[in-house]
Symmetry: C2
Subunit: 436 residues, 2 copies
């Protein structure tokens, strides 16, 4: 194999490092070379710490394997604290802000031998106002958001993995738009210590990779579990649920057809494909999510609202904040109670299927860089706290990537990823490599 | 009334400020005078920001009322971020650490007109290793922990309110030991943005005051709700449940008798008193809490464990951290699932009673300053996410304070506080004033 190291997945690079045919330093140089060649076009990085990364890699070169990510470069969304790099949260409010410690997720990746290459671009406080990042597949198109830089950096093969966060659809949508694998774990599974709080009821650390196998390697490092290879489940035993819900009406017909064609392709190979009719109240989940996320965000950023108001975008202040301040405690409590009921209902549904399958975004990445797209296909699953994967399954009408969303049962993340690997193979979806 | 201003509750001081008979500056001077007189004995403060507080008060003197806490001094546990004061988390690891922003709870109190007097002593990372604080009622006794300084500062009338946090029993126990009102809201009700994360499944911002009325004033400010007076519920309609559980065996006989005597006193005045038998699995809650809290804490402090190990106490590393690292993801998920079942069970129980009543601590404050006491009476209620109040109801055999614990239904905090006010009046418990 004469792959450029930066094009390798974590698993591939790790094998070479273990075999002695690749050093952490050579890998980081390859990643830095790709970054140098493509950053002016993609603009994925808020801060690229070349020298620190080189030094960290050099220390690992002669060492015994320290963990499952020995010498693996990674990127970090810039709302996640780092002790040795600024953390600016995508807003001039935090220009030059230097945290005292690494967030738990960063420290866990480093403890497993990972090498932090830098901080990736986020939208303003992980909300609507876009950062500078462009879609690596078409620079006039959005990469999606809010984890824009992380998705783009992995798609452009600048790093094999980058962390993002999802409060609505901020990992899965950019994964779909940028044509990489994206994963949001079950709510609560990965520590948020040191991650900027948007809506405590939903905020989840997620990540982007170029294979399903890599998602699992990183997941085990982030939950602090021993490394263990992913065992794909036999397709013949797999029970699939196709779920549409209210979001389906927002999905472009071309994307609907892609998802349905994938289901048709899988049907003869799996145990069953069942059309899932979401129960009463399912379609109101998006509104509950909006009420709760607004309520929590408006309170969480009280310091910013009262002390740095002039530096916040009108979209942030007049949109989510105003909504959130209008929402009363009783409305908030009612919305929370309604979601609790829906979580019980979906757990019932998930007794009959191993995974749910649906669109991950309404279509290809939007043209223009003024907005990052619509999370309509992600909101319910985030609100229900379920793990979800975006698999780069399709190419849309303009030739841009379109993902397929796989959703698992609560805290059934290992099972979801094993099933996703089998589905990937069945659909003939490859490891992602950069096109240029 | 010729009360020294520092002895006043929030409600009393607010009335005088509104009437023009007290200024924010005069109030802060009175609090600073008490602090000056008693701090060498009590050691409540990690950092007392006299000049900043004076300046903030002076700005409020000529102003219209900006909110429900206009000119009210408050203290902040030193694991809660402040933009204008260091935040050291009770450990040399964070010596001199200066956050970029105020935590949401601090910003909300300031937005309501509150004046931050300083940061109060916490145990090491809000865990076991004690800080320098002493019990204001007996300096050779622990004030309880981990919110030691906040409880002591309110008990000594240095401030009328101080914020703490509770992951196990870190607000209610020190409230009992120091003879003040302590309150832990329903889990999730107060934003934890900017609060050091110990165990995300349990961490809750709580506070200490010298009246029930004051708890509600602060609660409304912290959930961002408009001010509204507390309406006590008629005792005659109140259904009380006396609950013991496994913790009761750890409660000293003298304390058991105090709690039972309070129940006897209330019996003729209320609608009903029912002995609650917790269902199957209730007594295992403490073990589930230990598994989950250890699992989450060990991961949350990965940076501290891997980069500042030599500055952490052996108790922290060998105790909670080692336990937490030994707990597997599957054990963790099982414990979470078991707690979810118990939350449903307690919600059923709470359909028949308006509040539960039990001991808040096994007895009076422990002698000695090497440990902060036993949270055995608090763990289950924290794990179940229920709101709880400690009312300074009793005096123990050595003359030290002993609290009575009142527990409400999930997100029934307003109802709990209204009931607590009625119970307080019925038991003839007064507003707390300092004894010296």
């Amino acid at each position: 194999m004469s792959l450029e190291p930066a094009q390798m997945t974590i698993a591939e690079a790790s094998r070479e490092i273990e075999a002695g045919t690749l050093t952490p330093s050579a890998l980081i140089e390859s990643c830095l070379a790709r970054t140098g060649a493509h950053e002016s076009r993609v603009r994925a990085w808020a801060c690229c710490a070349d020298d620190q990364a080189r030094m960290a890699a050099r220390l690992l070169d002669p060492q015994e394997r320290v963990g499952s990510l020995h010498g693996i470069p990674f990127g970090i969304k810039d709302i996640i604290d780092t002790a040795d790099m600024p953390t600016e949260h995508g807003t001039p409010v935090f220009q030059g802000n230097q945290p005292a410690r690494d967030a738990a997720c960063v420290a866990l990746l480093k403890a497993a031998g990972g090498v932090c290459l830098g901080k990736t671009v986020t939208t303003e406080l992980a909300h609507f106002h876009p950062g500078k990042t462009r879609n690596p597949h078409a620079e006039t198109h959005t990469p999606g958001g809010s984890s824009s830089g992380s998705a783009a950096a992995v798609a452009a093969c600048m790093v094999p993995v980058a962390l993002g966060t999802q409060t609505t659809g901020s990992v899965l949508r950019p994964a779909s738009y940028c044509g990489v694998y994206g994963y949001k774990p079950s709510f609560g599974d990965v520590s948020r210590s040191g991650v900027f709080e948007c809506a405590a009821s939903f905020d989840t650390v997620g990540w982007f990779t170029r294979s399903v196998e890599d998602i699992e390697i990183v997941r085990r490092a982030l939950i602090g579990a021993p490394a263990q290879p992913l065992t794909p489940v036999p397709l013949a035993g797999l029970r699939i649920g196709l779920i549409r819900g209210a979001a389906w009406a927002e999905v472009e017909p071309a994307t609907q057809r892609l998802v349905e064609s994938a289901v048709d392709q899988l049907r003869p190979m799996v145990a069953s494909v069942k059309e899932i009719q979401p129960g009463a109240g399912f379609d109101a989940i998006a509104q509950h999510h909006r009420d709760i996320a607004g309520y929590e965000f408006a309170r969480a950023i009280t310091w910013e609202r009262t002390n740095r108001r002039h530096l916040l975008s009108p979209k942030l202040l007049d949109g989510r904040c105003e909504d959130g301040l209008r929402c009363s405690y009783d409305q908030y409590a009612e919305a929370q109670q309604a979601l609790a009921v829906q979580r019980t209902a979906i757990a019932q549904i998930m007794q009959d299927v191993d995974l749910l399958l649906t669109a991950v975004a309404p279509g290809e990445a939007w043209e223009g860089l003024a907005a990052t797209g619509d999370p309509v296909c992600n909101t319910a699953w985030t609100a229900l706290h379920l793990p979800a994967v975006s698999v780069p399954a399709f190419s849309g009408e303009s030739g841009l990537p379109v993902g397929l969303q796989l959703i698992g049962g609560f805290r059934q993340d290992a099972q979801l990823l094993a099933a996703a690997e089998s589905v990937r193979v069945a659909l003939g979806i490859d490891t992602v490599r950069a096109q240029s």
